[in-house]
């Protein structure tokens, strides 16, 4: 008995140590990144933003097993919702705590609207239809500048308000307790808080009645129906929940950049997010986070690393980093699919964890 108590307290000590180290690391990241310039802080911010998106898509693809290639549409909806409600374009300047939930809700509605016609489709067919929907949204954004100028077309919307709490703006740097914190660093902390919230929501959904229903549909839709699951509603719920994370990500993106245009929401973006989910480990939250961070960070590291490397080796630039990026991206996908088909960090440990906790 006493032995188990000791073991438990040791385990809990280690767990707390883990939490503290994690927190310290998360706090340290923007300051360490800043040593290499604010650009690196922005890259860290984008990595977290992609964590939002990848986790959102993970609900649809990883849990419910619905191959969605148009996920970027919800990102666009969230971004444009923020842009239109907090910019000189319509002269509206609503506060972020109104727009972000509104953007999430709007993305939810779009999730249901775009999900509803696809309910009977599976696999390739579903992928093609969702891909089409994604493109439709982008093209709408591109062309909705006439007869009434809603989205300002391809020029996009500029001068979007940054996130602001009272007079405290996240866009400019300020000094707190003698410590100077830049704009991107402030956004970083907001993003971390939101990310923790989203991760928590994902973990809770995963181990819930709804989460199990999603996974049941992924595993065998007919059996799920026979178990009394209303697959139509549960699938729509997956689309809606996944989309809402995309909407939040879009809102923060618009505020952070101060500018949105249809260009940011191309098919390539959907594919990148899907690659993060698949590469990291479909249906496994830590894996998906890893996938998002790696696929955001590595190409950037490559971009900044490859130029000095080439100059050092050959004395001049031979290959453009941008084209090399796609090459490495594709190669990484092929290698992962060949050697780790379940992703870099799949949920195979899950069973061991469960049996350990029983012991």
């Amino acid at each position: 008995m006493s032995a188990t108590v000791v073991k438990w307290s040791l385990a809990s000590q280690r767990r707390w140590l883990g939490v503290v180290l994690m927190a310290a690391a998360l706090i340290a990241v923007p300051f360490i990144a800043a040593l290499g310039g604010q650009a690196w802080v922005r890259i860290a911010n984008f990595a977290i933003l992609y964590v939002f998106l990848a986790l959102g898509l993970n609900i649809v693809v990883g849990y419910a097993g619905l191959l969605d290639l148009g996920y970027v549409a919800f990102y666009a909806v969230g971004a444009y919702a923020y842009a239109l409600l907090a910019s000189p374009h319509f002269g509206l300047h609503l506060p972020f705590w109104v727009i972000l939930p509104f953007g999430a809700a709007l993305a939810c509605i779009f999730g249901v609207l775009l999900g509803a016609p696809t309910l009977k489709l599976r696999g390739d067919y579903l992928a093609i239809v969702t891909l089409g929907f994604g493109e439709i949204i982008r093209i709408f954004m591109n062309n909705l500048n006439a007869p009434i100028n809603v989205t300002n077309g391809a020029q996009g919307i500029t001068l979007i308000d940054p996130i602001r709490i009272g007079d405290f703006s996240l866009a400019t740097s300020s000094t707190i307790l003698g410590l100077t914190i830049s704009g991107p660093q402030k956004y970083y902390f907001l993003l971390v808080v939101l990310a923790l919230l989203i991760v928590l929501i994902n973990f809770r959904l995963q181990d819930s009645r709804i989460g199990r229903a999603w996974q049941a549909i992924r595993e065998d839709e007919v059996a799920a129906k026979a178990c009394g699951i209303n697959t139509r509603n549960i699938k729509l719920l997956a689309f809606a929940m996944g989309a809402s994370f995309g909407g939040v990500a879009g809102g923060v993106f618009a505020a952070m950049q101060g500018f949105v245009s249809p260009e940011s929401f191309s098919l390539m973006e959907s594919i990148t997010i899907l690659a993060m989910v698949v590469l990291g480990g479909m249906g496994h939250i830590p894996g998906v986070i890893l996938g998002a961070v790696l696929l955001t960070g590595l190409p950037e590291a490559l971009r900044y690393g490859i130029e000095p490397l080439q100059r050092g080796l050959f004395g001049r630039m031979i290959i453009d980093p941008e084209s090399l990026r796609m090459l490495v991206f594709g190669l990484a996908l092929v290698l992962v699919m060949r050697f780790r088909p379940a992703g870099l960090w799949p949920s195979s440990q899950r069973r061991r964890e469960l049996t350990e906790s029983v012991d």
């Binding site: 959904l205 996974q215 049941a216 007919v222 059996a223 178990c227 009394g228 069973r351 469960l354």
Partner: protein, 258 residues
Amino acid sequence: MATSQILLEAHEVAKHFGGVKALHDVSLTIRRGEIYGLIGPNGAGKTTFFNCLTGLYRNEGGHFVFDGVRLLADAPHKAAEIGIARTFQNIRLFGNMTAIENVMVGRHLRTRAGVLGAIVRNAATRAEEAAIARRAEELLHYVGIYERAHDYARHLSYGDQRRLEIARALATEPKLLALDEPAAGMNGTETEALRVLVEGICRDGVTVLLIEHDVKLVMGLCTRVAVLDYGEKISEDVPAVVQRDPRVIEAYLGGSVA
């Protein structure tokens, strides 16, 4: 009252696939508390009948009356909701979920927690989750695979998978449990254990509809048996009578039992 004894009535159920008549006006009556066998040669329409009953297929003719209510066979989850649970001929488990999770999915229908409850994880949701897990454990005990609770369903042995499917079906609190060839591919010992399990389920108040190829099992287990051949019911009675029915012997049993 006579009607209260009757759990399921099939009235002239007909189904065809293109020109093939899979079911030709099949009528049968299942009483509460019995184990009703449905047998017939391959392709006789047994599984088609199951699929019509559980809403996977839409029958072109006839209808079902279950527990006094006419079934609108348009959605499988509604069939489950009014109390018809089933297993599948080719086992359909949620392979990448653990055994206990499979049974917990079966509780979906009788529980309520939504997205908000899941996220907030309030007292009601936690209590419901605990009740779901408890019931799932009980059911795994009941079918005798409790020690495999945390194994992935796809890692279970064939016989255990059949049992898990039954546990999952029972989790929906059915009035009628429809088993589609539960003994297929089982050896003698496993079949015997299955017989004991099905008898127990029936004793605990669930009516059983059993499709089976193992004639010995059906004859020993069922209170009444119907025989399908080319989509038509050719006989329906207690096993002893069905066994001697010349049409049945001609169509199906032949010399193997007689």
